[in-house]
Symmetry: C2
Subunit: 142 residues, 2 copies
């Protein structure tokens, strides 16, 4: 288990406002597209996924054999989501970090498949991974 960050809300250099854990989780719940942040062949990588916030876990589907499936199971990975107005550039960004795992319990899987947003391709349904949001940081921008 990763240690939690301080939960206070504070102003950062440059006027960006840090958000506490509760605010970050509430913002994550407002979207269903984010990016899994991981290492692949020792290089930084980030791939978009459609996801569901299940309690305090980020849940998404991957396809066996993909980079994402190989590089994110049972590893500490990041998950980033944001919403930034393209004109005013105001918005928010949240980064969650946790040790990912595959969800295999049939009852939970069944419930998740009913709730998960449609995947980009129908083949993307053979793994359901979770990133528990063990460490969460975020900020308001602009």
């Amino acid at each position: 288990m990763l240690t939690s960050p301080p939960t206070g809300t504070g102003r950062r250099p440059g006027g960006l406002v840090e958000l506490d854990r509760g605010a970050c989780l509430r913002l994550l719940a407002t979207t269903d597209i984010g990016r899994v942040v991981f290492s692949h062949h020792a290089m930084p990588a980030a791939h978009p996924v459609v996801f569901l916030l299940d309690g305090e876990e980020i849940v998404f589907r991957t396809c066996r054999g993909t980079t994402l499936a190989a590089a994110t199971r049972n590893l500490v990975v990041g998950f980033q989501a944001d919403h930034i107005d393209p004109v005013t550039r105001a918005g928010w960004s949240v980064l969650a970090i946790g040790e990912s795992y595959e969800i295999t319990e049939p009852r939970r899987l069944g419930a998740l498949h009913e709730q998960l947003p449609p995947p980009w391709a129908p083949e993307h349904i053979d793994h359901v991974l979770s990133i528990p949001a063990q460490h969460v940081t975020g900020r308001r921008l602009g």
Copy 2:
């Protein structure tokens, strides 16, 4: 210098379409918001930035003392941008990787400051960093 990936365009498992380097760079030029992907205290991180594609380099401003400035100078880092329709979920995602460096040459800095999009906070102007897009991958989604 990182080696370049194959430049072919191909279909991935799940029907995602891989894009070649030229297509990726053209897509990067259509936006000015992306995310720097890096490690911070050995943990995955991704922070949004407003950026300019200067030739084949991703250029953005940071503030001295920020995590981003500390964790991205003279290191191999990633840069991810995407555009995904929130309703249809169709879109694209591009990931560039390169060794970042600070731009200090006065004439180039002057020209960049005129072209760079406004930063989230006016204080965010004391460093201008570049990530040369040495390795670029991308895909169409949905």
